[in-house]
Symmetry: C2
Subunit: 195 residues, 2 copies
């Protein structure tokens, strides 16, 4: 998606340790006009698919998922990272290992909002090691719903997540795949640029 790649080139900041900061438009400050274009692109890529629910994970996936959902006219469910008093006991649970935060946490979704008959599209902002996406896929499987595919805004193509998800048979659409970043020059190479 050219508009997105241009935005990443313009406003993304490369930090030590292969960190790509895009918090000026994607995951702290959020450009919802861009999100709308992202929604249209996911709708185009999944035009052939039957989807009746979008599943994402708090916190930074929620905004994108909600704007994307307006293109599909389906509800969004977000997996919560910690059990709170506001969710009753009847939940599906999965474990996610976070490299960013150096810990493992539970994600949960109430059983009443995911189940047999649901055709689910996963949406998230980033795909790196793929642990969050695997956790979401596990929730879908546990619920008996059908996993239609996953839509990712930015995939870090030099990390293992994308390959692992594709190898597992999940249909994965990433709108921008970063193959390499150079902190010194500030250069970002996207997968499509290789052609």
């Amino acid at each position: 998606m050219e508009l997105l790649k241009e935005r990443i080139r313009r406003d993304g900041k490369i930090k030590a340790g292969n960190v790509l900061k895009v918090d000026s438009f994607l995951n702290h400050q959020m450009d919802t006009d861009l999100f709308q274009e992202i929604g249209k692109e996911f709708k185009r890529r999944f035009a052939d698919a039957e989807i009746n629910k979008i599943l994402t994970i708090e916190a930074s996936g929620i905004g994108i998922a909600c704007v994307v959902a307006q293109q599909f006219h389906v509800p969004v469910v977000f997996a919560k990272k910690n059990q709170t008093k506001n969710i009753a006991g009847d939940v599906y649970t999965s474990k996610v290992e976070s490299y960013t935060h150096g810990r493992t946490y539970d994600i949960i979704v109430a059983k009443e909002f995911l189940g047999a008959g649901d055709k689910v599209l996963l949406i998230d902002d980033f795909l790196a090691n793929g642990k969050a996406l695997e956790g979401l896929a596990a929730l879908v499987q546990a619920s008996g719903a059908e996993l239609v595919g996953a839509g990712i805004v930015i995939e870090k193509g030099f990390q293992v997540g994308g390959d692992a998800i594709r190898a597992s048979g999940i249909r994965l659409e990433s709108l921008a795949i970063v193959d390499s970043m150079d902190e010194e020059s500030g250069t970002i190479t996207f997968r499509d640029d290789e052609a």
Copy 2:
């Protein structure tokens, strides 16, 4: 907002301790078509106001804020509840006391995304004791931005937050104000219904 009140009456569940569960359409599963109508209503109520940024708080405020922002064509910034590695040190911080979770937590926003010249609308799903909204208002004040007002989807009118926020001079627009709930009969009385 009649559409919202009807939805609360139909799908809201009253639980012991004056808990109103609306997680089937507002804050776990999210009906983004309803959110769009909510966005139009906030746009109508703040039609006279100049707004160039929406500020909300993770997690359940984000989805609503992003869909509302599409009506205003302004970016959304969400306050984070815990410092993560992904945010640099240059942040505004405020403390929020949570009755739901029985603890006090920090909320933060990066200084680069809030500051003098910003005209800020606060958006959140619920207003009860008002602590989250007060924390967001404190972030706006610390940043030197102008606080234009606050838009709340559901205000619990029998708790102290709404009165406290109004008394502090903040322009508050709540789309549904619940004045009382009866667990046994399942009856919800909204403030407008009194007329």
